[in-house]
């Protein structure tokens, strides 16, 4: 190209850049020009993305039975919607006996309130721990939390509204909006037989407070033992259908291989299924990876949870050459869908480098594997995780 043209291109890039505030692609410093929103969360949350806002909980904030609302991890695809809780309505469409729109306040008032503890875990929790690397948000260990959820039984609502016999799935649509009309909106459909079970709630309260906006306020689904992509937030429409949703976020996204694969493999469609149910997993919450401790006796604590069933035991060791010991389960009761707390004591000598490994087993005989179950989207990491600790 001509020298004039070349100079024009260079100058326009550099000067427009001055106006454009070109991002620095160095991640050693933050981007001052992209202001983050002011929101009802703690500054210590790990920012995986500012826009849309995705925040991870540091594991030491998961060290109690219930994770406080302002420490709970935040995940959404398109940012929280601009909504007011008053006047919220839900449209019931499709194969309902009588499709209609109902105010949320009326729905809540019409049915008895129930509450239960349940673990909400992002399907992608642990994605950063897979190798080879996969694309997506690099959640490490803290895209998980447990709250005391309160609301009405979803089954009570559906029984009151009435369904056609043709209905097999309910498709949920949400209030959050995509920036571009070409971007598929978030949606999820769940099978009716799961939704009609007693533990599924339409929740409007979280840990005794009105459900915060970032966590779906004023309402969300609570589906214990299922991954949090099913805990649909900001519900505006429920469509009863014979089929599951054909939309991107149901048909294409959130799929996992049922057989082991390597990155070179392309699994066949019949080898793929929807990510649904949590797998058995444990987490150290008393110590952060890389922490330094003085020599002597220490208590290590954490959580363990699973899909169907309950936690049977949590095994633990601090050196790979040690035999597995059994941690003490601290929680008085073990409920399906809730986590149990455990603790264990260990001795460490000066200068040691320890790796705290925990291995949970559930009442269905599932135990955490040594090798991660690699999948190209990085879902459901539950391999035995090692938390390195240095002794001074």
């Amino acid at each position: 190209m001509s020298e004039d043209r070349r100079r024009f291109l260079i100058r326009s890039v550099s000067l427009t850049s001055a106006g454009l505030m070109v991002p620095s692609t160095s991640f050693s410093r933050p981007m001052p020009q992209e202001a983050a929103p002011s929101i009802e969360t703690k500054p210590g949350l790990i920012v995986r993305s500012r826009r849309p806002l995705d925040l991870e909980t540091p594991v030491d904030k998961l060290d109690s039975e219930f994770t406080p609302n302002d420490w709970f991890f935040v995940r959404n695809h398109f940012g929280e919607p601009a909504v007011r809780p008053d006047g919220w309505k839900i449209a019931f469409d499709g194969a309902f006996t009588k499709p209609r729109t109902l105010p949320l306040a009326e729905i809540i008032a019409a049915h008895p309130r129930h509450e239960l503890p349940a673990v909400a875990m992002c399907a992608g929790n642990g994605r950063a721990l897979f190798t080879p690397k996969v694309p997506g948000l690099m959640w490490e260990r803290g895209a998980v939390g447990q709250a005391l959820w309160s609301g009405i039984r979803f089954a009570d609502l559906i029984r009151a509204i009435g369904l056609d016999t043709a209905a097999r799935h309910l498709i949920f649509e949400t209030a959050d909006v995509t920036p571009s009309p070409k971007t598929p909106p978030y949606t999820r459909s769940l099978p009716l037989d799961r939704l009609m079970q007693d533990d599924v709630l339409l929740a409007d309260r979280m840990n005794g407070q009105p459900l915060p906006l970032l966590h779906g306020g004023p309402l969300r689904l609570v589906v214990p033992t299922w991954t949090a992509n099913h805990w649909v937030k900001w519900i505006v429409r429920i469509t009863a259908s014979a089929e599951e949703s054909p939309a991107f976020f149901q048909k294409t996204a959130y799929k996992i291989n049922t057989v082991p694969i390597t990155p070179a493999d392309t699994p066949k469609p019949d080898q793929m299924t929807s990510v649904k149910i949590l797998n058995v997993k444990s987490l150290v919450t008393s110590h952060l990876p890389g922490q330094t401790l003085p020599p002597g006796r220490h208590e290590v604590r954490g959580q363990a949870w699973t899909g169907p069933g309950v936690i049977d035991k949590v095994e633990i060791r601090t050196r790979p050459t040690d035999p597995w010991a059994t941690a003490e389960i601290v929680s008085k009761s073990r409920t399906a869908g809730a986590w149990v707390r455990w603790k264990w004591n260990f001795e460490a000598a000066a200068g040691e480098k320890l790796v705290i490994e925990t291995r949970a087993t559930d009442s269905n005989g599932n135990t955490q594997p040594v090798e991660p179950f690699w999948n190209k989207s990085g879902y459901l990491f539950n391999a035995i995780d090692g938390v390195p600790i240095r002794i001074s």
């Binding site: 427009t16 992209e34 002011s38 500054p43 920012v47 601009a82 920036p179 009309p181």
Partner: protein
């Protein structure tokens, strides 16, 4: 030909603020103009030297990617070249306006920095800069007067509609506004529109804070799930 390129060079040499200033001189009512950076052909881009190419592609990230998401989404990845290509194809399908010509170059550009072999340590965004404790959500109902204001409707039509479409639904240039998170964050909204971002020029000279608040509430009034009075 020489005259034309000289003219273009002069135009390109005006900083954005200058363009805004010029626009203001012409008419106090006109929105600041954004001069779309040229889209050179692939052959021309390949003639840029490595540093120029990096700047060019970084600019394209601002223009085409940062419309919908901030940089962290990109910066935390450690992907192979085929994985980057697949991600870019997916993003274009989702509305990213990156010209087809630049797809492969962009994949190579992102792969250079955000590849498996680079440091395993994940980027940490400083929380103090990222988050503020104070709640600043606007939960007040939008009054009928605010929703129906002909003055605000005219302001929107003149200043925003070309890029953001009728009633804030978005078009190929600007994203959707109704229902989006910044509408309930008065400070964030004002800051964003005053300073501009990517293709959106800075409106700090054109719009007063009262105008911005009126526009924000007018858009809330057009958000389906925002219960208007």
């Amino acid at each position: 030909m020489k005259m034309k390129s000289k003219f273009i060079a002069i135009l390109a040499a005006l900083p954005l603020a200058g363009i805004s200033g010029l626009a203001l001189m012409l008419s106090a009512q006109e929105p600041p103009k954004f001069v779309e950076p040229p889209s050179p052909s692939l052959a021309e881009v390949r003639e840029l030297d490595p540093n120029e190419l990096v700047r060019f592609l970084d600019q394209r990230i601002t223009l085409h990617c940062n419309v919908c998401h901030s940089m962290e989404m990109i910066e935390q990845q450690q992907l192979t070249l085929p994985q980057w290509k697949a991600e870019i194809t997916k993003m274009i399908g989702w509305g990213a306006t990156l010209p087809k010509d630049y797809e492969d170059l962009m994949a190579e550009h992102l792969h250079k920095k955000f590849r498996p072999e680079r440091s395993a340590e994940l980027p940490r965004v400083e929380p103090e800069l990222a988050l503020k404790e104070s709640h600043q959500t606007d939960q007040e109902a939008v009054s009928a007067a605010q929703r129906n204001s002909p003055v605000t409707a005219e302001l929107y039509a003149r200043q925003c509609a070309n890029c953001h479409g009728l009633e804030g639904i978005g078009n190929e240039i600007g994203p959707r506004l109704t229902g989006r998170p910044s509408l309930t964050r008065p400070e964030q909204f004002t800051d964003l529109v005053e300073k501009g971002r990517g293709r959106m020029p800075a409106f700090g000279q054109t719009l007063k804070k009262d105008d911005l608040n009126a526009l924000r509430r007018w858009l809330l009034g057009r958000t389906e799930t925002w219960a208007a009075e």
